[in-house]
């Protein structure tokens, strides 16, 4: 348990060190001898490689870009499928291109990927009971906060309300003031 916690803290440090600018895919260094290491399916020279050449049909390419902007690259998780240079992204774009050629609708193409990689590939997850917390949670929190604020303000107003003295108190006060 302690070891796990230490690993969690180290992972946090690694992420912080990376400054958030480096995508998550990078910190799984293939050479590091930890148990959880996995080789990202990335080209070893991502900077040199260009995105896959455009297909002959610009219409297909336009739709590909449209669809893949809504999809997450599984390897570089903060990149969309449209912008990722990861090898798997190339393969998935090829797959999407094929599906477009087969005349599939956008929804069918998204369903194809969700069936294999889960809701995670969608940048805009479907609204269903499992994702209700995700979609509506922030609004519920806002509502709860608003209720708390209202209660607090009302209490404060009561506390700050000018004190009303009873007749007896007023008589005593006048006596003191006469001193």
């Amino acid at each position: 348990m302690k070891q796990l916690f230490v690993r969690g803290v180290m992972r946090l440090c690694a992420v912080l060190l990376a400054g958030g600018s480096v995508s998550f895919g990078v910190y799984a260094q293939p050479a590091a001898p930890t148990a959880a290491v996995q080789v990202p399916l990335m080209s070893s020279t991502p900077a040199v490689r260009e995105a896959a050449p455009m297909a002959e049909d610009p219409q297909i390419e336009a739709r590909l870009v449209d669809i893949s902007q809504e999809l997450r690259c599984l390897v570089c998780q903060n990149e969309s499928l449209a912008s990722s240079h990861a090898e798997l992204a190339d393969d998935l774009r090829r797959e999407v291109r094929d599906l477009i050629r087969q005349g599939k609708t956008d929804q069918e193409i998204k369903d194809f990927l969700v069936a294999r990689y889960g809701d995670f590939v969608l940048y805009r997850p479907e609204v269903k009971p499992l994702t209700w917390v995700l979609w509506f949670g922030p609004f519920v929190l806002l509502l709860v906060a608003a209720v708390f604020l209202g209660v607090y303000l009302r209490q404060r107003r009561q506390q700050l309300a000018p004190a009303v003295l009873s007749d007896e108190e007023r008589a005593r006060a006048q006596q003191w003031l006469k001193g």
Partner: protein, 192 residues
């Protein structure tokens, strides 16, 4: 007292959430294929021209392990699988995933040449590292990988007698994982 207690409770709650959340691997994506039939395919094997398809494993509980000679993490995992294969009567089928990488020289060759090069490389690698596989299928273009939701190497699946995926591991299979999770599951599946 109350002034201190409420922030303290909130803070502890935050700590608990962080402690749990930070231990989770953001790269590990839950597979939607769990408890779904393993996708069918037919691919050339490492050994010869005979094709392999998962239907041939009907009636057996088997392991499907994604690997490649270029995969560094597989070198750590491989001895574990070799030892497992020697000790237990569980067939392990390998999925040789994209053995020819885009930056390889052979990437531009014809499919036949690519298959040949991939086979040669894999055989040499298995000879020196040991071969735990009853057979390895050659997924050169990574299509079967996509159908199985593969997004990294290694990955491992346990498939039951009816051909349903019962377990998926993303990353290296460790001896602990085998002993604590995978083997009990296989025994369970073998009973039914």
């Amino acid at each position: 007292m109350k002034k201190v207690l409420i922030p303290l409770i909130l803070f502890l709650g935050l700590v608990v959430f962080l402690a749990i959340g930070l231990q989770r691997d953001p790269r590990e994506i839950p597979s939607p294929l769990l408890n779904k039939p393993a996708p069918e395919f037919s691919l050339s094997t490492l050994e010869g021209d005979e094709k392999f398809s998962p239907a041939q494993m009907q009636g057996k509980v088997w392991m499907f392990n994604v690997w490649a000679t270029w995969c560094v993490a597989c070198r750590e995992e491989h001895p574990v699988l070799v030892a497992f294969a020697q000790k237990h009567n569980v067939p392990i089928v390998g999925l040789s995933y994209k053995e020819i990488q885009p930056q390889d020289e052979a990437a531009k060759a014809s499919p036949e040449v690519k298959l040949q090069v991939a086979r040669e490389r894999s055989v040499v690698w298995l000879k020196s590292h040991g071969n735990p596989y009853v057979t390895s299928v050659m997924d050169l273009d990574g299509r079967v990988g996509i159908h199985y939701g593969v997004y990294g190497v290694p990955e491992t699946y346990i498939i039951d007698k009816q051909g349903v995926i019962r377990y998926k591991r993303v990353g290296v299979v460790t001896p602990e994982l085998l002993a604590d999770k995978i083997l009990p599951l296989i025994n369970e599946l073998n009973k039914s």
